[in-house]
């Protein structure tokens, strides 16, 4: 149900380590705010588009991924153009187009598991401070992935039982029972986790 946005492949970007890709994205996100020149930013956006194209995604898939972010920045750029200057609007569009293309390229070329590993590394300083527990984050993430299909199924059966009784199917009416039924399982799941000693404390 939750298929990762990773795209299989063996392009140069796929082979690059996730850490370098994330660091590059971070540097790019800082660098694009240093200039206002549409020419430089246009070059950056074109370069980002090339990087994104190098991942080798099917055009339809690429379009569906980029459509929403690009429309949203186009709207924001339009507003900037109206409230400020048209040039500022163009700079805004090119800046965020660069960032979105690079970010989409990193996501498409990296395995979810590898990114998660980098997240764990990033959490390490916080873990030393006692603020988070990386193992807990992994466990929570696993629980979400495990229970999303169950909850979706529960929603479906609530919908069916409403229909079977001739009640109008209103998502609003099913919200509360779906949440109650889901959260009621928490005690049992927590007990199972503790019984198996999955959290070493």
């Amino acid at each position: 149900m939750l298929k990762s946005l990773h795209v299989e492949g063996s392009t140069p970007l796929h082979k690059l380590s996730v850490r370098i890709k994330l660091a590059g994205l971070f540097v790019a996100s800082l660098a694009i705010f240093f200039t206002k020149s549409p020419l430089l930013l246009g070059g950056a956006a074109a370069l980002a588009a090339l990087v994104f194209a190098s991942v080798g995604m099917a055009p339809r898939d690429a379009a569906s991924r980029l459509a929403w972010p690009l429309v949203s920045i186009a709207l924001v750029a339009l507003a900037t153009g109206i409230f400020e200057t048209p040039l500022a609007g163009l700079a805004t569009f090119l800046r965020f187009a660069t960032l979105i293309l690079l970010a989409a390229a990193v996501t498409a070329s990296s395995e979810t598991g590898d990114v998660m590993e980098e997240v764990t590394v990033l959490m390490r300083p916080f873990e030393r401070l006692g603020l988070v527990n990386a193992a807990d984050i992994g466990l929570a993430l696993g629980l979400v992935l495990r229970f999303v299909p169950d909850i979706a199924l529960r929603y479906e059966s609530l919908r069916e039982s409403h229909a079977a009784r001739g009640l109008p199917v209103r998502p609003l009416r099913m919200l509360a029972p779906m949440i109650i039924l889901t959260l009621k399982d928490a005690d049992m799941i927590a007990m199972a986790i503790d019984a198996r000693g999955l959290r070493r404390q």
Binding site: M1, L2, K3, S4, L5, H6, L25, F33, L66, W68, P69, S72, V76, A77, A79, F83, E84, A88, T92, F96, L99, I100, L102, A103, A104, T107, S110, T112, V115, M116, V119, D136, L139, A140, L141, L143, V144, F147, V148, I151, A152, Y155, R170, P171, L172, L175, A176, M178, I179, I180, T182, L183, K184, D185, A186, I189, A190, I193, D194, R199
Partner: protein, 187 residues
């Protein structure tokens, strides 16, 4: 954190993901269908409280960052976090926290139903609308160089829909409070 809290956080994150999968809610008197997921901030704060609700949203954002399509319409990945609307995403976490904080303080289990619904509505409006708009607008204005007030006024388009969502979330949160109370209570 107790294991039960950890599980409640994960289950609520899963509920938010499912709210993005189910078909959008259509109401008879509103022309635009409402995506159920956009009520998540209000629901999380009012149902599992400030701390757990905010952590549920942090978990959701982590899933977005590692490239899982957990947002409505199958959206996800770093591209979502890189846009000028990233402030709204950060606003989800803080908004959930504020919603929860207010709900924990003013909603009591023994209260009359009307009071509870009114309390949840107030919490949802301040946290789920006020805080989210504020944080979203600050980042929007800073990253685009737009005037803050001009950027803030752009939010007005979404206000009627969001007020309606606060109403729906308040009703749902009250129903959950009656059926299976989880909201911590503070004095």
């Amino acid at each position: 954190m107790s294991t039960r809290d950890l599980v409640l956080i994960a289950l609520f994150t899963a509920v938010i993901v499912v709210l993005g999968i189910i078909p959008p809610i259509t109401l008879a008197f509103v022309p635009v269908p409402i995506t159920a997921q956009s009520m998540g901030v209000m629901l999380a704060g009012c149902i599992i409280g400030a701390k757990r609700g905010a952590l549920a949203y942090l978990l959701l954002i982590l899933m977005v960052a590692v490239g899982l399509p957990v947002l409505s319409g199958g959206r996800g990945g770093l591209a979502i976090l890189a846009g000028p609307t990233a402030g709204y995403i950060a606003g989800w976490v803080v908004g959930t926290f504020v919603t929860g904080l207010i709900a924990e303080r003013i909603v009591r289990e023994g209260q009359a139903g009307v009071h509870q619904i009114a309390g949840f509505l107030l919490a949802s409006m301040i946290g789920g609308i006020g805080v989210v708009y504020l944080m979203g607008t600050i980042w929007l204005a800073r990253s685009t160089g737009m005037d803050f007030l001009a950027a803030l006024s752009a939010n007005a388009v979404f206000l009627p829909g969001d007020v309606l969502k606060a109403g729906i979330a308040a009703l749902a949160a009250r129903a959950v409070l009656v059926g299976y109370p989880l909201l911590p209570q503070r004095t």
